[in-house]
């Protein structure tokens, strides 16, 4: 968001007038109306959770915990197991973090520690724009640019150099876990950069100066003092990115191959939770099929709910610690 600066807040002013005079002035009416709108947000959220829970009852009762450890997904036989989709979601998210975390933190260090304020703000503007690019556009570029590049250059090169690892073996289609992970990485990097940059900038100045005055180089003060100080907040940005990566639908659906496979090879086509919902929901062939898909949605919801909560907590802890140390 563009402006997160909080100015010392001016909270509600509590009047000491009587209820009747407040009613006459319209204050009570305004209060009631705005309350209804604010309350509807809570209502919608509760309803969302209830709906996911209730609409997946059939599937939850029929398959129980086996749902999570069964590979078979057969709409015709009404047998559903989510293992291949869970596997695909975890693999693509892991690949994306493996790429996005070093790149994102590196860029955030540059923006927060090295770049002059003007350059940093200008680059942050581009990063914000990058975060606004819709996922279907990433998918479009994934299909027509990344997939051919992977198939013709990147995958053969990986196979020739690291082909002895099972990760980089097998036929090279271009689509698959690795490509989906790369496209996801490109998508989540802006989130890591924005949050990490802000957290790094909240580290008090005297921390850096103390390290430098003890004779450390610029990099040593950054890597051994500033980054550890901001560690919790950076972890928060990573969880935020992970939550995004797990729930991302369009870009993954377009490049993962949509084939339910569990394979050690990252070149193999696969499937993810969000992708199977996107592909099968509108054409679900019966109540159990539909409810199994909704249960997948429930799983996705719970995962992102936990990760987002954890991320917010970590980010708040770090910025408060930075503030406390600065005022000490």
């Amino acid at each position: 968001m563009a402006a997160t600066t909080t100015v010392p807040s001016a909270g509600p002013i509590s009047g000491s007038r009587s209820f009747l005079s407040r009613l006459r002035d319209g204050d009570e009416i305004a209060r009631l109306i705005t309350f209804l709108f604010a309350g509807s947000v809570v209502l919608i959220t509760v309803l969302l959770i209830l709906t996911l829970w209730q609409e997946s009852a059939l599937s939850r009762h029929k398959f129980g915990l086996h749902f999570f450890v069964t590979r078979l997904w057969d709409p015709a036989a009404e047998q559903f197991g989510a293992l291949t989709f869970i596997y695909g979601t975890i693999v693509t998210a892991t690949v994306s973090l493996a790429i996005a975390v070093p790149l994102g933190i590196g860029a955030a260090i540059f923006l927060a520690e090295l770049a002059p304020a003007r350059l940093s703000d200008a680059l942050e503007f581009f990063i914000d724009l990058l975060a606004a690019v819709p996922s279907v556009i990433y998918g479009l570029l994934g299909v027509f640019i990344v997939v051919p590049l992977m198939r013709d250059y990147a995958q053969p090169a990986l196979k020739n150099t690291l082909g002895f690892l099972p990760l980089f073996s097998g036929p090279m289609y271009g689509i698959g876990f690795l490509t989906a992970g790369i496209v996801l990485a490109i998508m989540v990097i802006p989130y890591i950069i924005s949050v990490s940059r802000e957290v790094l900038m909240s580290v008090p100045r005297d921390q850096r100066e103390a390290a430098l005055s003890l004779g450390s180089t610029r990099w040593e003060s950054t890597w051994k003092v500033v980054v550890p100080f901001a560690r919790t907040g950076i972890m928060g940005s990573i969880f935020l990115a992970l939550a995004r990566a797990l729930g991302e639908t369009m870009a993954v659906t377009m490049v993962i191959g949509n084939t339910p496979t569990i394979s050690a090879s990252l070149f193999s086509p696969g499937y993810s939770i969000a992708a199977v919902i996107a592909n099968e929901f509108a054409e679900a062939t019966g109540d159990v099929h539909l409810q199994a898909l909704i249960e997948l949605g429930l799983v996705l919801f719970l995962l992102t709910f936990l990760l987002n909560g954890l991320a917010r907590l970590l980010i708040v802890i770090t910025s408060q610690r930075g503030g406390a140390a600065a005022h000490a």
Partner: protein
């Protein structure tokens, strides 16, 4: 200089350069995306893209006029749901609520904001599509509207709280009632920020695809009224990009260029509005 110190300086210089490279790589992605879209989309876009219906499968030509109108209708509906709830809810949070209710509303909004868009689609499907028994513009607009609420609410609240207390006190000292203070002093003072919040929320949902797949669905023709399935630009990009027809790919690029152009322009305008200065002096 001792070899050890020289080594440390080398490491420092090297690593710092690497962080610069990381930043360069991250930012250059934006220009790659723009470049490819302008290159591929620019050569495929033409007048009939904006004015014609899609041609039947296999025939070249045609356009996406119905998808453009469909997206406009969906976004209108989304704004009708997302803006009032976000805006008035934020007024309640900033001006009226006690801390417990505010905590609950903020928590719910943040939770809603983090829900994957495909799950929002499932929710809209159960709530709107199932009772009406078919896909509709209404359901798609509802799904997008839900996604607008938390973004509008949280940023509007922040801008309202940033209005200096002195302004409120001045208005109330002149005898204005509370809602009059809000309507004539606080909201006008924060209007740039609120406008920015609404524009950013709008831009965010304009490109959403996943929640439309099984709510607005798709349509190769015009979609009369609000209760029929409708085409939309993001879903058309998806369908056309994964289809095996050369001419559809061309149109997907064109649609991508139009969509991304719209979203980036709104983002830049929103930030420009904010950068021209908050209308009130900061604290």
């Amino acid at each position: 200089m001792s070899p050890r110190l020289r080594w440390r300086k080398f490491v420092s210089g090297f690593m710092l350069t690497m962080t610069g490279v990381c930043a360069l790589v991250a930012v250059s992605v934006l220009f790659f995306i723009l470049g490819y879209l302008v290159y591929h989309g620019g050569t495929s876009i033409n007048w009939s893209f904006f004015t014609k219906l899609p041609k039947p499968v296999g025939e070249a030509g045609g356009g996406m006029a119905n998808a453009i109108l469909g997206s406009a209708k969906l976004l209108l509906l989304a704004s009708l749901i997302g803006v009032p709830i976000g805006f008035l809810g934020a007024i309640y949070l900033a001006e009226f609520s006690g801390s417990k209710v505010a905590f609950l509303v903020r928590y719910a909004a943040d939770l809603l904001n983090g829900v994957p868009s495909i799950v929002i689609g499932i929710f809209a499907y159960s709530l709107v599509v199932l009772p009406f028994k078919h896909f509709s513009t209404l359901a798609g607009g509802f799904a997008l509207g839900l996604m607008m609420i938390p973004i509008t609410l949280r940023s509007t609240e922040e801008f309202l709280l940033a209005v200096p207390r002195a302004l409120r006190e001045a208005a109330m000292a002149l005898g204005a009632s509370k809602w009059k203070t809000i309507a004539t002093v606080i909201v006008p003072a924060a209007y740039r920020g609120i406008l920015t919040a609404v524009l950013l929320a709008f831009a965010r949902v304009a490109g959403e695809t996943a929640p439309l797949l099984f709510t607005a669905f798709g349509n190769r023709f015009w979609s009369p009224g609000w209760t029929q399935p409708t085409a939309s630009l993001p879903v058309m990009i998806f369908t056309y990009a994964v289809a095996p027809y050369e001419d559809w790919h061309r149109q997907a690029w064109a649609a991508g260029l139009v969509l991304l152009g719209l979203i980036l322009v709104i983002n830049i305008v929103a930030r420009a509005i904010l950068a021209r200065g908050i209308a009130v002096p900061r604290a």
